[in-house]
């Protein structure tokens, strides 16, 4: 029975994330447009784009190797698996025992690897430029994420996301300075991972600033649809991760029935809407930073994670 419940939760979660991801991207775009005084495309526009692009044949460069063909599928697969591991409305999903923060970090790294390879495969200068920048940023963003995971692990005694959320939900740990530092570090990493302002501009093809768009400049048709879809999935995943760890209230306990799921679902949608609105306001209020400032920004995130971990280490070691 419990396995059945876990399976149903997992399937519902997957369906929810799959349906929600492009809508979330559309909502952020629409909110940003409204905040800037434009009417903005309909929030369902990313879905329409996806369905149209999926029907189109990709056009590949003459010298494109198998990497260009395989990379979008690898990236979507990794992003989908990672998104399946981060709980949305209920804990205790079928894959919960595998929902390790380090595994999620690894899947995100695999996705980034596929994307950078696809950027460099055809040998255009823009693709290579985007790939090098992405990897340079990742060199600082990934350790910051791992340090945040380390802070959670010291506090909760495990890196399993499901258990961590359960412990945070009980509230026995209280408000901790280290958790505050981890929150700031994770927010900075999330901004960099999702290629949002101030690290990258998701809405531009201006050559000097772009990172993410530069790598998929060559993609078209089905492949472009997959790249766009994995970008939406990644945004949903990060917002769900932040919501689950730092705003853990309202989530259904493992083995709870459909009524708890519905409240969990409503709370989850409210949390995502609030986060999307915050993101839109943040992006409208701030300017994109120079590319050479980004390593400093991510380095600061890394140091904050380190500071939180040092605080925890010293205070648990000496007290």
């Amino acid at each position: 029975m419990s396995i059945f419940t876990a399976l149903v939760t997992q399937l519902l979660h997957l369906a929810l994330i799959l349906a929600l991801a492009p809508v979330l991207t559309g909502c952020v775009r629409w909110l940003k447009a409204r905040l800037m005084g434009r009417r903005g495309p309909h929030p369902l526009q990313p879905w329409r784009d996806l369905l149209k692009l999926l029907k189109k044949r990709p056009v590949l460069a003459e010298n494109a190797s198998a990497i260009s063909r395989a990379a979008p599928y690898v990236a979507v697969g990794a992003a989908l698996l990672a998104a399946a591991l981060v709980p949305s409305f209920a804990r205790g999903m079928l894959l919960a025992p595998f929902a390790d923060l380090l595994l999620i970090a690894g899947l995100l790294a695999l996705r980034r690897f596929a994307m950078a390879l696809a950027g460099m495969d055809v040998g255009t200068s823009f693709g290579g430029l985007g790939a090098t920048r992405e990897m340079a940023f990742a060199a600082l963003a990934e350790p910051a994420f791992v340090l945040a995971a380390l802070i959670f692990a010291i506090l909760a005694g495990t890196t399993n996301l499901d258990v961590i959320i359960g412990i945070f939900q009980e509230g026995a740990l209280g408000l901790r300075v280290s958790l505050g530092f981890a929150a700031v570090a994770l927010l900075a990493v999330a901004v960099a991972e999702n290629a949002r302002i101030p690290v990258d501009n998701p809405a531009t093809h201006l050559e000097l600033t772009m990172v993410h768009e530069a790598m998929i400049l060559e993609a078209s048709g089905r492949h472009l649809a997959l790249w766009d879809f994995q970008a939406s999935l990644r945004l949903t995943l990060w917002l769900a991760l932040l919501a689950a760890v730092f705003l853990p209230f309202g989530m259904a306990a493992p083995g709870a029935g459909p009524i708890a799921w519905i409240t969990g679902l409503l709370v989850f949608i409210a949390k995502m809407a609030a986060l999307a609105f915050t993101l839109a306001v943040f992006e409208s209020a701030i300017a994109k930073m120079r590319v050479f400032r980004v390593p400093e920004f991510l380095g600061a995130a890394l140091l904050l994670g380190l500071l939180g971990a040092v605080f925890l280490f010293v205070s648990t070691g000496l007290s």
Binding site: L173, L175, R176, V177, V184, L303, S315
Partner: protein, 222 residues
């Protein structure tokens, strides 16, 4: 008095936020952003003092909070902004040490503060010890900012944020007399006035607030 009790947790978190703002001060490059970060730190300090006043039931701490807010979040930043506009200092802050290096040094100093405070206060409440460590980190970071910046305004802000750390340590301790608070606040205001006069003099003599231009007058670096 362990973790999980809201009054102490919130005080602790506010202390952490003040420390975070100290890192923001180190990280910012533009002088206007540095002043704004300092104003935010002052406001957070006022919030921390008011919260301690509420928790400890000490009315004197509300006075401290009001002074911290009025002086550090409003008056001093306003005066500094005027100074910046008067001398056209919109450009960067010329760190003597790179931003990245000073951030690493800052983290090292914060770790050092923990290592010093925790063994020295063994036997006290865990949270009071960590609060003290946070306050000492803010003090050390203020000192670091004074060392690593060449611009006079940044140095003054470093000094004032060092003093923020002292106030943070003081409000966490129950039973601090109001006279002490008032004299410290008066000291800070005097400090700001003297710094302002000094900056005006320097700006008129050298047309810049870069303290490097003072070196030749001390007989250094020809």
């Amino acid at each position: 008095m362990s973790f999980g009790q809201l009054p102490y947790d919130l005080a602790h978190l506010l202390g952490g936020a003040v420390l975070l703002l100290s890192f923001v001060l180190l990280y910012q490059r533009r002088i206007a952003a540095v002043i704004n970060a300092f104003a935010t730190q002052g406001a957070l300090l006022a919030l921390a003092a008011a919260w301690q006043g509420y928790v400890q039931g000490a009315a004197g701490l509300y006075v401290t909070a009001a002074i911290a807010f009025g002086a550090k979040a409003v008056l001093i930043p306003f005066a500094l902004h005027r100074l910046v506009r008067r001398f056209n200092l919109q450009r960067g802050v010329d760190p003597a040490l790179g931003i990245g290096v000073s951030m690493i040094a800052g983290v090292a100093l914060a770790g050092f503060a923990m290592l010093v405070v925790l063994p020295a206060t063994a036997g006290q409440r865990a949270l009071a010890r960590e609060d003290l460590a946070l306050a000492l980190s803010v003090v050390l970071l203020g000192g670091l900012m004074m060392i690593t910046r060449r611009n006079l305004i940044s140095q003054v802000i470093g000094l004032l944020s060092l003093e923020n750390g002292l106030i943070l340590a003081a409000v966490g301790v129950a039973g601090m007399p109001l006279v002490m608070e008032l004299s410290t606040a008066a000291l800070v205001l005097m400090l700001a006035v003297i710094a302002g006069v000094f900056a005006l003099q320097m700006g008129e003599s050298f047309q810049s607030l870069d303290t490097e231009s003072l070196d030749t007058h001390r007989g250094e670096g020809e």
